[in-house]
């Protein structure tokens, strides 16, 4: 076998087979695996977002046109500009922030309680026979009931104050968290439990090292359902007997036929939903970076 031709010492080591016969090293010929530059990918992504924004933009344009041409009464559907002005007014007067804060506190308190209770119940039933018998069958029965149907009962029990609203949110949140976490705990691979046994892991270590991380994806799915349902319930709860909150703002607006304010409230709810969903997705990415289904950055 002949000695490989010597390449310039500064060049990357090249396999002898790839070198031209004259021993020179050519650079930059290997573009068989050309990949689009990151910038091109960014442009494509921007284009993607742009095309997704097209639909809403068309709706906005039609809405604007309909208002400008007086196709619909401004009482039913005020012009986009009017709604924008209403939003600015609400922000300047501080009314929006005030009521938003109230709504946020309700939603977060309800979410916190519901998540804690749902996860704790799921752990209890998922890890013990007694829990399974005592709780799971009951929960599975109640889950098919629309949570909002409980409202009259909750009002009778707790009145029409803050606790009722928070409780309704908490109740609605508990179920998706419980059901998804419970299913995930049950589905934890028994082969890993077996492995833990051979490594001498005690019950607590087993829960910490195997059960909890294994059930995390299910819990996070539950969390995503929970956040979206929490807004849904809050909207309804806030429109009955509330004295503050985004829902109250909208109910007030209805009584004085301020459709523009109602639309502002709707937009705020939509934004809240969007933001919370994005947050949960971020948490998912971060927490499940080990999983192949969610590529983390």
């Amino acid at each position: 076998m002949s000695a490989p031709p010597t390449a310039p010492s500064s060049a990357h080591p090249a396999h002898p087979d790839q070198l031209p016969a004259d021993g020179s090293v050519r650079v930059g010929i290997d573009d068989r695996f050309h990949r689009p530059a990151p910038r091109a990918a960014g442009v494509r992504r921007a284009a993607q977002i742009g095309s997704r924004a097209l639909g809403p933009l068309i709706v906005l344009a039609v809405w604007w046109l309909a208002a400008a041409q007086s196709w619909v009464s401004p009482i039913l559907l005020p012009a986009p500009g009017t709604v924008w002005d209403a939003a600015v007014d609400l922000v300047v007067s501080g009314k929006l922030q005030e009521n938003l804060a109230v709504s946020l506190v309700r939603a977060l308190t309800g979410l916190g309680i519901g998540i804690a209770v749902g996860a704790a119940l799921a752990l209890f039933t998922g890890l013990s026979k007694a829990g399974e018998v005592l709780i799971d069958s009951n929960v599975q029965m109640i889950r098919s009931m629309p949570i909002l149907a409980l409202q009259p009962l909750v009002i009778v029990w707790f009145g029409i104050g803050e606790p009722t609203k928070v409780l309704l949110v908490a109740l609605a949140v508990t179920f998706p968290v419980y059901i998804n976490t419970h299913a995930a705990i049950r589905a934890v691979d028994s082969r890993f439990v077996e492995l833990a046994t051979t490594r001498g892991l005690g019950r607590l270590a087993l829960i910490r090292r195997v059960v909890l991380p294994g059930a995390l994806p299910g819990f996070l799915t539950g969390l995503r359902f929970a956040t979206s349902i929490s807004w849904l319930v809050l909207v309804v709860a806030e429109q009955i007997n509330a004295t503050a909150g985004i829902g109250y703002l909208m109910t007030q607006a209805r009584t004085v036929a301020r459709t523009d304010v109602i639309l502002v409230g709707l937009a705020v709810y939509a934004l809240l939903g969007l933001v919370s969903d994005t947050l949960v997705r971020l948490i998912e990415r971060k927490a499940l970076s080990w999983s192949s289904t969610l590529q983390a950055r």
Partner: protein, 257 residues
């Protein structure tokens, strides 16, 4: 690098100056082990003694009860009859690597171990299996062979007296398997646990073990030492002879191959 070092097998007996062999301490002692599933007997009374430093291969047809016996030795089966005495925590290597997907490589190797010495050993073992630079990788970022190497490192990280393996290389391609054989032989000579290796691969058994068992109809129908040099076995004349004898014992004629 470890992969290239020649493997040596630890003898099952220690020889004193006079040349008389004193038997090494017993690591596994099983007596009259029986197991039935729903009334259907799988193991009909197994007696087995494994001593320190022994590398035992357990052969048997599919469904003969090899995994069942291994699980009993690993104390994973509580419904078996008979007496089994094994070290407190025998290490187990499964056919799948069984790495926790949510733990990085090093924590996987350290699973269940807390002392500082184990940490040191885990690092060394990862170097030994050629994955010292992948300690922070997620299991899904490793190839099948690499995952199995991590599993091997994990099995040895607790400095086990006994290493139980159930077809650990069954899911690997032929080339990777050959490399794993070398690696295993090397690691075993370095950390000297007693080994029970379940396999359906006669070549694997003859290449690696210094004692071979055949499980037939719920009993050990063959139990004999392998008298072959530690390395270069495949070209040894004794290799083919033993191989065809084992194949016959397993009910497969040599010509069927």
């Amino acid at each position: 690098m470890v992969l290239d070092a020649p493997g040596t097998l630890t003898p099952a007996t220690t020889t004193d100056d006079a040349g008389a062999a004193a038997p090494a301490p017993v690591v596994v002692e099983a007596h009259d082990v029986r197991r039935a599933f729903d009334g259907r007997g799988v193991l009909h009374g197994i007696d087995l003694t494994v001593r320190r430093g022994e590398f035992v291969a357990l052969l048997g047809r599919s469904g003969s009860g090899k995994s069942t016996l291994l699980r009993i030795l690993a104390k994973l089966d509580t419904d078996a009859a008979g007496t089994v005495s094994v070290p407190a925590l025998p290490a187990v290597a499964f056919q799948d690597s069984r790495l926790l997907p949510w733990a990085r490589v090093l924590p996987n190797v350290l699973l269940g171990l807390r002392d500082a010495a184990a940490r040191e050993r885990a690092r060394t073992l990862l170097d030994d299996v050629g994955l010292g630079d992948r300690a922070r990788a997620w299991p899904r970022q490793l190839s099948g062979g690499e995952q199995q190497r991590v599993a091997l490192a994990r099995a040895l990280a607790g400095a086990p007296e006994l290493l139980l393996m159930d077809e650990p290389f069954g899911a690997l391609d032929a080339l990777t398997r050959i490399r794993m054989h070398r690696l295993l032989r090397d690691l075993v000579s370095r950390y000297s646990p007693a080994v029970v290796l379940v396999t359906h691969d006669v070549d694997e058994a003859v290449l690696l073990a210094d004692r071979v068992l055949v499980l037939t109809d719920g009993r050990l129908s063959l139990d004999e030492p392998i008298d072959l040099p530690a390395t270069g076995r495949r070209s040894h004349p004794g290799f083919t002879a033993l191989r065809s004898r084992l194949l016959t014992e397993l009910g497969v004629g040599d010509d069927d191959h």
